[in-house]
Every structure is written in structure tokens, then in C-alpha cells.
Symmetry: C2
Subunit: 292 residues, 2 copies
């Protein structure tokens, strides 16, 4: 793990086998050039005997992606006992098995509503589930947010080496615990959720940092995970803000250099940063990821 020194328990492996591919093309001068691009492959997730969804993913951590997706869709609850997660690399299939078959598979068959930029978030019963979520109180120190952003932006990643990918980082205070990347920002979040579930990591004192936009889907996933704060370099959608306010999630976006905007749950924020010590970003650089 090239990033293990940096204090991550799980971190990107930009040189990991099978995550990028060398392709040859021509550049703007007509010169032949080889560049590396990220992989994107289908992964079909089964819950017991039922096919749930096919996600397009970079391909690492298929077990965490499957577990996290099912958790975040409320198809796998705390009371379900997972007896196995089997990944078949040749078939691009991962099967999550539970001790007792649940009825979530049936629910899904009735309602396959997918979201804007989604592996297929099933909104069916999500709103019901969300209404039961209570997010814990915690202190979110502005100084920690600046420390996290500075660290994450310089962590070796597939983004830095090949681009065209999203990252999500699970944090606790100023500490970074797990950094996942994927072609879809929702997959990166699901992989974090799967890792937390598999490792028994609690959510009450955590912050989720994402490179992607703060849409309804991202807010739902964060709330389903029980993580009380979601932070991004990118912007907001109106429904994302509305949902965050409904569930009491702290939602911070447009975080670049010294600047950020908090549109929900500002009561958790502690204004302890010395802004004179935080580097500002040139305005142009600040637009990186703004549409992501």
C-alpha cells in the first residue's frame, strides 16, 4: 500500500493491477502518445438468488461495493447475518448471501427507480427508511476540514495518475481512515459503507469527504450510513440540500482553499480555524470538480 504511511487504513493503489490500461492515440500536434486511462467494467450484484443491479465500476473491492450498495439501499440491515460474499472474477458477479432470505429482493422487483447519476439507487422505500434516521450530534472543527482537504488533495490516487475518477474518504476528526475511488462517486461511497460494515466501524463520529457533487443520492447514502457530516469540493443540488436539512445532516460544499459553504446542519460546526494559515486556491483552480 503506497499510501499506508500516510495513515490510511485503506487507500488507493494507483499502480494496482487491472485498474488502469495503457491506450495509444494522437495528441493535438498529431504526435502518437500513450496515456493511462481508468478501467470501467460491469459488476452484477446478487442478494442470495436474486439479481439486484449491474454497476459500472473500476473493479477493486467488489465485496465492499456489493455489501455497501445493499446496506445503503436498506436491503441489508444490522439484523441480517451475512454468511458469505462470493466474487466470480470471470463472470463479473458478486453474490451476497444471508442466513435468512430477506424480502428486499421482492420489493426491488416491484420498484426499479433509478436516480440521475446512479448505479441505480432504488428510491422505492428509501424515503421511508430515511424518515427513521437520526444522526448523532458531534463537533465538526473547521480546522480539521482544512487539514483533511489538504491531505486528501495530495494523496497518491488514480485521480492524480489517470483522472476521470471520483474519490470518497472516511474521516474522523483530522484523521483519514479509508479512501476509495471509482468511476461513479456513489460506488466509492458504497465501498466505504461496505468496508465499515465488514470491519465493524461505527459512524457516529465520522465525516465523509467526497470529490463529487452533493446530490440527493449522495445525501441519502450518507444518511443511511449514519454519518453526520458530508463535505465536498463540488456544488449542491436543491434536493440534496433539502434532504440534508430534513435528516439533520451537516452538508458542506464548494470547499476550495479557505472557502466553503454550509447549507445544512451548521450547528455541528466549530469555527476554530486560523484562516491566515490556510492556503487559498487560485480562483481558476477552484473550479476543478465543480460539475463532478
Amino acid at each position: 500500500m503506497p499510501n499506508s504511511d500516510a495513515g490510511y487504513q485503506v487507500a488507493p493503489s494507483p499502480d494496482g493491477a487491472g485498474l488502469t490500461r495503457a491506450v495509444t492515440g494522437v495528441d493535438h500536434t498529431g504526435a502518437r502518445q500513450e496515456i493511462r486511462v481508468v478501467e470501467e467494467r460491469p459488476l452484477t450484484i446478487f442478494l442470495n438468488s436474486r439479481e439486484i443491479v449491474t454497476a459500472m465500476t473500476i473493479g477493486d473491492y467488489p465485496d465492499y461495493l456489493a455489501l455497501g450498495f445493499l446496506r445503503n439501499q436498506a436491503m441489508l440491515s444490522d439484523t441480517d447475518v451475512v454468511t458469505g460474499v462470493d466474487y466470480d472474477e470471470e463472470l463479473d458477479v458478486v453474490v451476497v448471501r444471508t442466513e435468512v432470505e430477506t424480502d428486499h429482493e421482492e420489493k426491488l422487483a416491484k420498484k426499479t427507480r433509478t436516480s440521475g447519476c446512479a448505479v441505480g439507487t432504488v428510491f422505492g422505500d428509501m424515503m421511508e427508511e430515511l424518515s427513521e434516521v437520526t444522526l448523532p450530534q458531534m463537533e465538526l472543527h473547521a480546522s480539521d476540514l482544512y487539514a483533511l482537504a489538504a491531505k486528501i488533495n495530495t494523496t497518491d490516487s488514480l485521480y492524480l495518475s489517470a483522472g476521470a475518477i471520483h474519490g470518497t474518504v472516511l474521516c474522523q476528526g483530522a484523521e483519514t481512515l479509508a479512501y476509495m475511488e471509482d468511476v461513479g462517486r456513489h460506488n466509492a461511497v458504497d465501498k466505504i459503507a461496505g468496508w465499515m460494515f465488514a470491519e465493524g466501524i461505527g459512524a457516529v463520529d465520522k465525516t465523509l469527504y467526497t470529490t463529487g457533487r452533493l446530490t440527493s443520492e449522495m445525501v441519502m447514502k450518507c444518511a443511511m450510513m449514519g454519518v453526520p457530516a458530508l463535505v465536498s469540493r463540488s456544488g449542491f443540488t436543491a434536493w440534496g440540500v433539502e434532504l440534508a436539512q430534513q435528516v439533520g445532516l451537516t452538508l458542506i460544499g464548494r470547499m476550495r482553499g479557505q472557502r466553503f459553504m454550509c447549507l445544512s446542519g451548521e450547528d455541528r460546526l466549530v469555527w476554530d480555524a486560523d484562516l491566515s494559515k490556510v492556503a487559498n486556491e487560485p480562483r481558476k483552480a477552484g473550479r476543478k470538480g465543480a460539475r463532478s
Copy 2:
């Protein structure tokens, strides 16, 4: 239309009613501030009596979105006669009616495979459909690409006014014809496809410019539309490149300032640009949209 002077037949209306919402929050200094964020609302698309998918969309041009989505999914062919497109704003539903009911609705029920970052691209029969696509030969002038990029980047848009949104522009030579924006880049492409279908606009001499990444889904949509060239500021995925090469689509990415990379269909490119007259982008600005 604020942008009609700029020569677009359809262009963003950043001040359009209902496309953005004012929300109040606190900034990094703790000061209360109002900002505008883009809307994101569900739109359920029906083909005749069958519910096909629910897209999360900004909400403009629901008719084009529905028509384009169905076209790009090969659920609506040239031989199908559309007898009506009914949009119910209160129910967030749009119904596309055809003279003869097709069997595509049935196919869908069997295979609901959705893609990485998708309104739910149904890959079911897409690969079959794609194998029948033949993209026309045409000349793609590098000088036109630079002119298009310069024009599009300065066109009044929701992106410039509220951020967190993707744009797609249908072009012909150095001319911009239609500019659509949406929270999902695939929706923006579908709206272009719907507009072309409704207006009877041919594809053989067109170029599609997108702010988003060049994933498998974007390449599939472009090929299904019959547009021979796809250009983006952002990066590539390996499968996107592979599909483009298979169908003979010209695929150009990482286009910022003078630079771009062509990873497929370079035979259409004509190197006629005088690079000394093309402004270069500062390296940092060049990362805008790189993950998008």
C-alpha cells in the same frame, strides 16, 4: 433566449423559472449567505402504458429527455410513429405514445441493467444494437474544435451561474446548434437526441461536445444517435475507448486550451489549426471537469 444571439437554436436559460433555487447557509467565515443551487427532480418516463425509468433531472425539456432516452435505448426506432408526448408537471411524469405498441417495454422488464453513472442505461440489447451502427465518414477540423471550445466555455449557462451541472452541445463544423444542461451528463445527451428526433435534424455531419467524462455510456449514446465524433474537456474510461474503436467513433478527450487527445477514429481529424493563435489554459484551470 439570452443566448439566441450567439447562434444557438436551443441554449441554456440560466434565469429560467424553476431551474435553480436560492438557499441560505453560512460560509467559511460564519457569515450568512444566499446562493443559487440547481434543481434536481424525479421524472418518470413511460412508453405507452409501461413505466420505463425515473430520471433525476433539472426539469427542463422533459419531452426531449423522454424521446431522447427512448431513442438512445433503442426503444424507439425510426419506424415507430410517435403520436404524442404528454408531460404532467404535477406528477413528474412524461408519457411517450406510439401508433403501434412496441415490444421494447417487454424486453426491459426482463433486463434492468443500469450503468455506472446513469439514468439507468439498459445494456440488455444495446451491444446488439451497437454492432449494427455504422458511423459516416466526415472531416473534423481541429480549428473548428478550438473555436467550439472557446465559444461553449463562455456561453451563459447554469454551470456558470450555479455550478454542479453538465452540458452537452450539438455542433456542425464550427457552429453550435443546441446546448442542453442537466444534473446528469447522460440526460443532457438524451435531451439533444430528443431535440434532433423531434426536429428531424440529421447526425452524419455533427459533432457532440460534452463537459463530462467519456464513459462507455456516453460513447454508446453518441453512437446510437449516429453522431460520428464525441469531444470532451474531461478524461476517458478504458471501456469508453474500446467501444469507440469498435464502432469507429472519433473520440477526443482532455481538450483544454491547445491540448487534446484523440484515442479513436483519428482518420477524421484534419490538422488545420494554427496553434500559435489558440490560447493555452493555465495548468490548474485545465483540471476543471476532469472527474466529471
